[in-house]
Symmetry: C2
Subunit: 276 residues, 2 copies
């Protein structure tokens, strides 16, 4: 588990603010792995081994594991246990429900004694308000990462609705920032809207932003940094498919490392530029 | 799997629009069940056996199962397989994510060949817009039940934000009703706001509404029916705790049946009043 200070220290040490997204899809896994008893875990393990010095966070996407039933959940549990201690380990679950149900989801992902999993952070959908977030914050030191602005087409349906406090996603960030500090709350902000980082930084100057959509989804790392970076970095930039599926051959782990290295080197430059 | 017509036929036949919520909590289970190899499934099985002629839907809450890791998921899979063919079987999962991830969640709950589960319907959080709903609708005959208005305190944080089309939850219903018809989409509407059913019926005249919050959470069945019932009923009223935890003794199943029967009898009266 990493505190805000520890996360910032890791970013400075590794010269990276890369989050590697683990979205394992059996149809895309290298053929030779399919004969392993646990192909999904074996895939994740090798990706982790190949990238752990280049990134500061991992983000398994729960849906990909859940789609395989018991075997998928076992792979998620095993992956969770295998994740390094010096990275921020995020379960991308987008949960959101009333208090007593959120309490159960918090156990599912934060309480190893009941579920077998002990992630550091979870992505949350904020629609149900404070109730849906509180139970996670009750776990000392754990993070919630609240969905604000996504890079998908559907973001236009509701996230940009005009409300008294600005667009809906802005109202959400402003409100959620009254629930806990920047040491407990991050926001998901889609990278295809990089100019909007300027606005967000006006009312969320210190929160880390988890930025999907660089790489496969088309966002520009340079823009994200230009508008979103703070004096403590304040960014975790996620890449999933462009790293983990860089090759579908036996060299997939080396290829993943090469992609991660490319991003890490760009990130090192951006940190240098910002004097971090 | 029940179509809209079949669901309406079941409601008329059983004189009930009751949905039994399955929120199994090991701490609340009768002691004698704890020696069974699968106490959660055993509990659900007996609740189902005791109530299946009195209700038209079941709604396992995924969080409660997930909190127990592998054992919990196995209990959910076994429960799913055990659910009757003549009830609408809803997984209360409140998922919501971008298209390629929603596709995986859809497999997790709708595609038995990969996950072991084959629910008829799933609850969805709409924040990510159309992307997050489409992949579920791609499964012929399956339902999505979109979160609109909840009965929790946190509903005030965002659901009542004023937008051009009315409160946020109203804008969501209006928009989502352009995505598919009343034969594929239902909405979650919290029962503590029963006067608001009148408004909702103005723009969602035909959709079934899944109404939590009658019973333990304090809503009135009479008010829900007065303002929300349509000529086809149009309501599924959920009760979880007041039924499944009616007794913590060996008689829990009989006690659950007695509670379900009370609700079913009230529902039969309401259907009679409405000439259904």
């Amino acid at each position: 588990m990493l505190s805000r200070e520890q996360l910032i220290a890791e970013i400075k040490k590794k010269r990276s603010f890369l989050c590697v997204g683990l979205d394992p899809d059996l149809d895309k896994l290298p053929d030779f792995l399919k004969s392993y008893p646990e192909p999904i875990f074996e895939f994740n393990k090798r990706i982790i081994d190949a990238t752990r010095d280049l990134c500061v966070a991992y983000k398994p996407n729960s849906a990909f594991f859940e789609s395989y039933g018991i075997k998928g959940l076992q792979a998620l549990i095993d992956t969770c246990k295998y994740l390094p201690k010096d990275t921020l380990n995020i379960i991308d679950a987008k949960r959101g429900d009333i208090g007593n149900t959120s309490d159960k989801y918090a156990r599912a992902f934060f309480d190893e004694s009941t579920s077998g999993m002990n992630f550091d952070a979870i992505t949350i959908t904020p629609y149900m308000g404070n109730d849906s977030v509180k139970p996670y914050l009750a776990y000392e030191g754990k993070w919630v990462i609240i969905l604000a602005l996504t890079s998908s087409v559907g973001s236009k349906d509701f996230q940009y609705l005009e409300t008294e406090g600005g667009y809906l996603y802005e109202t959400i960030i402003k409100k959620a920032n009254t629930w806990a500090g920047a040491d407990r709350i991050m926001y998901v902000v889609g990278a295809t809207k990089s100019t909007e980082f300027t606005n967000i930084r006006a009312y969320a100057p210190d929160n880390f932003l988890l930025v999907p959509g660089v790489g496969a989804q088309g966002g520009s790392l340079e823009d994200v940094c230009k508008y979103g970076m703070t004096k403590d970095c304040g960014l975790l930039v996620n890449s999933s498919r462009s790293i983990i599926y860089a090759s579908s051959g036996e060299d997939f782990a080396e290829a993943a490392r090469a992609e991660a290295l490319k991003l890490q080197q760009q990130m090192a430059e951006e940190l240098e530029k910002a004097g971090i």
